[in-house]
């Protein structure tokens, strides 16, 4: 919503300075987006004199001009205009200025190798005429003595641009803004000028609103104005239209626009002679179409509110008129429309057809139904005054009458909500000033809501009105109490924050990526999950919700690799989606590592990251979270995006049904398809939701402290065993032989190759044995030794290596 301060003063008597008005607007909830001159910053265009010109060394058609801009130093400007010559007076625009026509911002630039400071402008570039041949030529007589001065007189009034919230249609007109300002003490609302309008009873014109269940128009006011001479608008009107940033068209169009912005009353003018017999306001039929004033052809669906005549559609009521009956400069007779359209209907139609106009914007927020006649009056008066002609009596068709809504307001509610009090007297005064009729009634106020306030329907709305006008600065600041009834975080939230930092402490950089991703990448990681499409994605490569934490991580790992990074660890914690219903999501922490460890290291040999790096990061994280390494069980079944032979899944215990995590190398085919250029790429995923209920609080998990001081012994074993036999199982077999005595089993060598059959491997283990009761003697140890060998051989088919 734009207007000038002068325009505002048509409605408001005020002594406030501009800046105070601006502050006041903000204080009462009419947010000021900007307050500046309308078209462009005129200070940047300076009267200048060309002192000399020389040919550009690298371009035939360009000249280098030495230009006097009224400052101590002259400037060099490269110019291509044929009329650029010595002693010419012209207009110079310096670096930083914005050229009105192209809206291009100038900067110091090199043109064919020669630096140019700003430019010399043609009249067309400055929007002062259509003249685009050559640069502006100014008369010596008038301008010679004012070289260095601004070419444009700064008479462009400053324009207030308000960002009006959707609840305040009344402030989409200057008068509404003035009314609010007056109530807040900024001045006095001027009485609306009562204009005398002489009516002449011309031929009646038939207007019908058809009765229909979904009729979007409930009132249609019209006036015939005959014998007009449409013309260019007078200066005052043109200036008003220009200050809105709009283009003056003709007096009739400009007047309807002026009335709309002035009193928030959209109007439409038809060329009466082009209407076929009568106006019928009805609902459209599927397939009907018309040519609108934006020069587009619209195909309508069923039930859109249209204004039509006997031949067809003239326009979409309250949204946009049609070209067929549009007014032109030679229009002689007009029909002026001032109607009320239902916001819902307007919104539905404009959304479907994707049309946005000033009228639509206002009707969908709710226009004052009582302004129909006043709008006609104001416009008809102006048309008559400017274009001449005779005005017929207004015809107002209604299928529903508007009535003022009432509210009973208990003034005590105000203090209850805001925490401070305002006297009843002042409340009444504020409400009166913003248009409420107030009747005190036994401890409460009976209020009639002004018809221009469709947003007000209940007492809380009244509280808002009062506190807004009274000022939010009056609200006290009550210090918050520092007591806590409930723990800040629940268990799962604590886990989230802990695991996030646990992974980061292992060298991973945290990233936050979109929850959506490219379906083409997502498909590599989605497995059996349903693809969840976004109906209106921001771009085609962000078209689905991610099914896996890897989709974006892989994409960004590639991006960073392409930036030249080689050895990276990235992780993200966040949602992955299983379906498009609320709650069909899981929280996952996932990481990817690329490249090598100890690359270019002077004292350590480098190696590529591998599955056991990923495994360490995953398991160590789970241990830090509070799980017992000895209970963790590893399986080798993993999703298909992992390397089938170099990946694993992690169960918190052997008894669990679902894995809580996966780790491994990423499948080479995916690396190839995504064109990820690295020596190695490994990753892991931990599903936070699956570790939900399995955990006691850590303080309750600690067992009694018990250690043995008897001497411990170590024994080494080497078994030759089936190549595919899992070491985890071998260790378990040994551990289970005597849980009291066997304290730990360490794998210190795995060997395949010479001296070992090709379907076997050799596993070397170190077993630590210690008793709680005594120091074990040779005999005890030998017995256990033999038991270990025989049990392992029996249960695993292994043979002790001799």
């Amino acid at each position: 919503m734009k207007f000038t301060i002068d325009w505002l003063k048509d409605h408001l008597d005020t002594k406030l300075k501009d800046t105070q008005i601006i502050e006041k607007l903000t204080d009462i909830g009419l947010e000021v987006e900007s307050f500046q001159s309308s078209s462009f910053d005129t200070d940047n265009f300076i009267i200048a004199k060309i002192l000399s010109t020389e040919k550009h060394p690298n371009a035939d058609k360009l000249k280098i001009c030495e230009v006097d801009i009224g400052k101590e130093n002259t400037v060099k400007v490269v110019c291509g205009a044929p009329n650029a010559r010595k002693n010419l007076l012209t207009i110079y625009a310096g670096p930083g200025s914005i050229i009105p026509k192209s809206q291009v911002k100038l900067s110091v630039s090199k043109i064919r190798g020669v630096t140019s400071y700003g430019m010399l402008c043609s009249e067309s570039e400055l929007n002062i005429s259509e003249e685009s041949e050559g640069i502006t030529e100014l008369l010596d007589k008038k301008y010679l003595n004012i070289v260095g001065k601004n070419f444009f007189k700064n008479n462009n009034p400053k324009v207030v641009d308000l960002s009006i919230t959707p609840n305040r249609p009344d402030c989409l007109g200057v008068r509404g803004v003035a009314r609010d300002l007056a109530a807040s003490g900024a001045g006095k609302l001027k009485e609306d000028v009562k204009r005398k309008l002489k009516f002449k009873d011309a031929t009646k014109f038939k207007v019908t609103i058809t009765k229909h269940k979904n009729q979007g128009c409930t009132m249609f006011g019209s006036s015939l104005i005959t014998g007009v001479t449409n013309k260019e608008s007078p200066k005052w009107l043109k200036e008003k239209i220009l200050s809105l940033g709009q283009k003056p068209i003709s007096a009739i169009v400009d007047i309807t626009n002026y009335v709309m912005f002035d009193m928030n009353r959209p109007l439409h003018a038809y060329d009466l002679d082009k209407i076929d017999k009568e106006i019928i306001v009805r609902n459209s039929l599927t397939g009907e179409s018309f040519q609108a004033l934006d020069n587009k052809e619209y195909k309508l669906e069923e039930d859109m509110c249209v204004i039509s005549d006997r031949s067809g559609i003239l326009g979409l009521g309250g949204i946009i008129g049609g070209t067929r009956t549009g007014t032109e400069l030679n229009t002689k007779n007009i029909l002026l429309e001032s109607a009320y359209f239902e916001p819902r209907s307007i919104r539905k139609t404009s959304k479907k057809l994707n049309i946005d106009t000033d009228a639509k914007f206002r009707f969908e927020r709710g226009i004052d139904p009582e302004s129909i006649e006043e709008g006609l009056k104001k416009a008809a008066y102006l048309i008559k005054e400017i274009c001449g002609g005779e005005v017929s009596k207004f015809d107002i068709q209604k299928i529903k009458s508007s009535k003022k809504n009432q509210i009973n307001f208990k003034t005590s509610l105000f203090e209850k909500i805001t925490g401070f009090s305002v006297s009843d007297k002042e409340i009444v005064k504020i409400l009166n000033e913003i248009g409420f009729e107030v009747k005190p009634l036994k401890g409460l106020l009976k209020l009639s809501i002004p018809t221009w306030r469709p947003d007000i329907s209940q007492p809380i709305d009244i509280v808002e009105e009062i506190v807004r006008i009274k000022g939010f600065a009056n609200i006290k600041t009550i210090e918050p109490e520092k007591n806590r009834i409930k723990p800040t975080l629940n268990k799962q939230q604590k886990l989230f924050h802990f695991i996030q930092r646990s992974v980061a402490s292992k060298g991973y950089y945290e990233t936050v990526t979109w929850s959506f991703t490219d379906s083409k990448i997502n498909k590599f990681f989605k497995e059996e999950k349903k693809e969840i499409q976004i109906i209106n994605p921001i771009s085609s490569d962000l078209n689905v919700l991610r099914n896996s934490i890897f989709s974006n991580l892989a994409f960004y790992t590639k991006k960073n690799l392409d930036r030249g990074f080689k050895d990276m660890s990235l992780f993200e914690i966040g949602p992955v989606f299983l379906g498009n219903n609320p709650g069909e999501q899981l929280t996952v922490i996932g990481g990817l590592r690329s490249g090598k460890i100890s690359r270019l290291n002077w004292n350590e040999k480098d190696r590529i990251v591998d599955v056991f790096d990923a495994k360490r990061d995953t398991i160590q994280t789970l241990i830090e979270v509070g799980f017992n390494r000895n209970k963790i069980f590893i399986d080798d079944k993993t999703p298909s995006y992992y390397h089938p032979g170099k990946s694993g899944s992690i169960y918190l215990s052997k008894e669990e049904d679902n894995p809580v995590a996966f780790f491994g190398e990423i499948h080479p085919n995916i690396i190839k398809k995504l064109d990820i250029k690295t020596e190695s790429l490994v990753g892991f995923e931990i599903y936070l939701d699956y570790i939900k209920e399995t955990k006691k609080k850590l303080k309750d998990q600690k067992s009694q402290y018990k250690q043995s001081d008897f001497q411990k012994s170590e024994r080494d074993f080497a078994f030759v065993i089936d190549k595919y036999f899992k070491v985890q199982e071998l260790v378990e077999i040994i551990t289970n032989i005597d849980k009291q005595l066997i304290k730990s089993v360490k794998v210190f060598d795995v060997y395949e190759g010479e001296n070992i059959p090709s379907d076997k491997k050799s596993i070397a283990l170190n077993v630590t044995i210690q008793s709680f009761d005594k120091t074990l003697n040779e005999n005890d140890l030998e017995k256990l030794n033999n038991l270990i060998i025989s049990t392992v051989e029996l249960k695993s088919g292994a043979k002790i290596r001799s």
Partner: protein, 355 residues
């Protein structure tokens, strides 16, 4: 002079010379070997007259000890000398790079969420969450934003079905709805999380973060709202004083509604929060609309309160001098390295929010 004294003098003299290991061993053998001088003296013990035997033995033992001590001292000196000699050749260039250690980083958004939670924890808020995918009812209708209302235009919504019933939440406010529907007042929660709107330019990202606040109890009024936000802003920016302005605005789910601006100025090209004559909008808030409370079955005759919504990314940008919102989500390794936080840097009340 007795033999003993002679031996002693002779060998002490020998042992005072510069000796290598072999020569010391040689001397040791000469003295204490099977036929060593001292050993031989001990053999004489039997033949010494009884009355002199005691003294003889005592003298001999003294000499023995003295020589033995001298020999072990000699060995020790030699060892030290050898170690020193060896160390001379063991010098490394300690200015060579240390072994590498890779510390990860926490994303600024996560850090800021932790800071926010820590501050609100202090004044009794607990953390609630809600799903990223919401239904149209929780995101709009329950929040007093009916279908076909222009207020819906304020949010460019991502939809997940053609009927526009399922969507990505456009704000964290649906968590209010969920929280109140499943519990009974009083409510005092914050809800940080991801939010989505389908616009994207220099200052807008299709995904961003908000924290919702909700406090419903008996007699909670706008003064409490002001106090709470004033406390939060001061704590968050870690300043003693903050210039703050409440400006009337409109949100369908609160009434009265306000936007909050904080004062700032630009000093040496950097933004300084809390002073200055420029205003920066940082959040929206208001008293929860009675229609919303009715929708979630809260008795409006007994309970009322406030809600607010703050842009987390924006707060982080202001506090940590980050210029570009889009960079938050672009996963540039250099950016994360620059703006990320050490994982050990956990914001807390007692250690302070930031170092």
């Amino acid at each position: 002079m007795s033999d003993i004294k002679k031996i002693k003098r002779e060998y002490l003299e020998k042992l005072n010379r510069e000796l290598n290991q072999d020569s010391i061993n040689q001397i040791k053998t000469e003295l204490f070997g099977k036929n060593g001088s001292i050993s031989n003296e001990f053999k004489k013990l039997g033949s010494v007259a009884v009355e002199e035997r005691k003294k003889f033995a005592a003298d001999l033992n003294l000499v023995k000890e003295e020589l033995q001590e001298k020999i072990s001292k000699k060995f020790h000196e030699l060892e030290i000398k050898e170690i020193n000699e060896k160390l001379k050749n063991e010098k490394v260039d300690v200015t060579l790079p240390e072994r590498s250690f890779e510390q990860g980083k926490i994303h600024p958004v996560s850090q800021v969420i932790d800071e926010i939670s820590s501050i609100f924890s202090e004044i009794g808020f607990s953390v609630e969450e809600g799903p990223d995918v919401e239904n149209e009812y929780n995101n709009f209708t329950a929040l007093n934003t009916p279908d076909n209302h222009p207020a819906r235009d304020m949010h460019d919504t991502f939809y997940l079905d053609n009927e526009k019933k399922l969507l990505l939440r456009t704000h964290t406010s649906p968590v209010q709805v969920r929280t109140m529907l499943k519990g009974k007042p009083p409510f005092k929660i914050i809800a940080p999380g991801r939010t989505y709107r389908s616009d994207s330019d220099q200052t807008h990202a299709p995904m961003f973060h908000q924290v919702e606040g909700l406090h419903i109890d008996k007699n909670i009024n706008m003064g409490h709202l002001k106090g709470c936000l004033n406390y939060f802003i001061k704590e968050f920016f870690e300043v003693d004083k903050i210039k703050m302005r409440f400006r009337p605005s409109h949100f369908p789910f609160t009434e009265p509604s306000a936007e909050v601006d904080i004062g700032y100025e630009i000093k040496d090209g950097k933004i300084v929060i809390g002073e200055g004559d420029k205003w920066l909008e940082i959040l929206g808030c208001g008293m929860v609309h009675p229609n919303v409370l009715k929708n979630v079955k809260v008795d409006t005759s007994k309970f009322q309160g406030y809600a607010f919504g703050i842009g987390i990314d924006r707060l982080g940008m202001l506090k940590y001098g980050i210029n570009d919102l889009r960079a938050f989500f672009e996963t540039d390794y250099r950016w994360i390295n620059h703006f990320g936080f050490d994982p050990l840097d956990v914001p807390s009340n007692y250690r302070g929010l930031s170092r």
